[in-house]
Structure formats: structure tokens, C-alpha cells
Amino acid sequence: SQQGEEDPQALSIQEGENATMNCSYKTSINNLQWYRQNSGRGLVHLILIRSNEREKHSGRLRVTLDTSKKSSSLLITASRAADTASYFCATDGPHGGNAGNMLTFGGGTRLMVKP
């Protein structure tokens, strides 16, 4: 079964609006990370939230984590056209504390911010 499933798959908003993307996962985790990817480009790390954290902020980004519901949300406030990209969540661990945790990515949300 797939870890880190994203909702919605595509989101189109006007510049200045807020964008909220959700992610659900199935197994227990050490942390959850959000990444951004422009078309055909590399994945850029945005923010990491640990399993014992409930909310984290970074600039215009706000991430929440609800481990009881196995879900996370990424909020981008005051969106800009340059925020247009795909956003992925990725879960990590716990794999029993062994080294070399792998990140499992969800399907991604394609965000389009119209100017």
C-alpha cells in the first residue's frame, strides 16, 4: 500500500490566496517532510516536521501533523505565481531504528497559482 498519499491531486488558485495541501500516510513515522518540484526538475526540501511536533512554520509555509489521524497539511499563505509547482510529502521511518531510513513519497499535488 502506498505511503504518503496527497490530496488534492491538483489545485488552481489566484495569486494572493492561500493554498492547502493534505497528505495521509499509513505506517508510523519518525518525521514527515514536504518537497517542492518544478516540472522535470529536482526536489527541493521545504520543511521537516518530527513525529512529536504538531505544527511548524517557515516563512509563508505552515505545516501541521496529526499522528493520530496519520495526516499532515501544508499551507502556503499569500501565494505567488512562482509557487506553481508540484508538492510532495514524504514520510521517513521508523524502521525499528535501523540506519538508512528511506523516504516514501506520495503522489504529489500540482499547484498552479494564476497571476
Binding site: 519518525n30 518530527r50 538508512g100 528511506m102 513519497f105
Partner: protein, 116 residues
């Protein structure tokens, strides 16, 4: 700041040929991950290495192999290439072994492999 370096950036191979992708992690990172991303798909985990030993294995075909060298760079070797191997291949690194609570993975720009 130094980032993850992947080479080559683009590679075109014919069916049944072999390909070698290289990844140079961020200095002092001890963990390397390989991912495959097909067109319009999410990245799929292939394999990871920690301190030069394979640590996790995902959906990596038997035709592929990888290793991490003493200088922590990693190579993904792909043999008997098939059309379906055409994808973006990403390498990422983290300092997992140093700080198990803070495993941000930083990705390279990827190698775009096209099999014709």
C-alpha cells in the same frame, strides 16, 4: 553551500545497453538514496546506503545495482536497459547516521535517462 551533484544530467542509451549514474553527496553526509521518477509519477525509492553499506532496498530491478564508495559517492549501474527505464533518477543525501532525528534529505538535480 555545496549541494548533491549528479552526473550526467542527461543520458541517452539504446535498449539492452548499460548505464552508470553517479552521485556525489553533500560533504559529511553519510547516507545516499536513489529514486526513480517516471513521467507524471511520484518518486519511487530504489535503494539507500549508509556508511557504504546497503541499508534499505525498494523497487529496484535485479538489472540494477548500486554501491557507495569510500569517499561516500554512489553509483547506480543499470544493465539490459529497457524502454520503461526512461525516467528521472534522483540521488539524495542526508546525515542520518549523525542525527537520526533530523534526516532532511537533499536532492540532486537528477539524471534524465532516455532509452531508445
Amino acid at each position: 553551500a555545496a549541494g548533491v551533484i549528479q552526473s550526467p544530467r542527461h543520458l541517452i542509451k539504446e535498449k539492452r545497453e548499460t548505464a552508470t549514474l553517479k552521485c556525489y553527496p553533500i560533504p559529511r553526509h553519510d547516507t545516499v538514496y536513489w529514486y526513480q521518477q517516471g513521467p507524471g509519477q511520484d518518486p519511487q525509492f530504489l535503494i539507500s546506503f549508509y556508511e557504504k553499506m546497503q541499508s534499505d532496498k525498494g523497487s529496484i530491478p535485479d538489472r540494477f545495482s548500486a554501491q557507495q564508495f569510500s569517499d561516500y559517492h554512489s553509483e547506480l549501474n543499470m544493465s539490459s536497459l529497457e524502454l520503461g527505464d526512461s525516467a528521472l533518477y534522483f540521488c539524495a543525501s542526508s546525515s542520518f547516521g549523525f542525527d537520526k532525528e533530523n534526516t532532511e534529505a537533499f536532492f540532486g538535480q537528477g539524471t534524465r535517462l532516455t532509452v531508445v
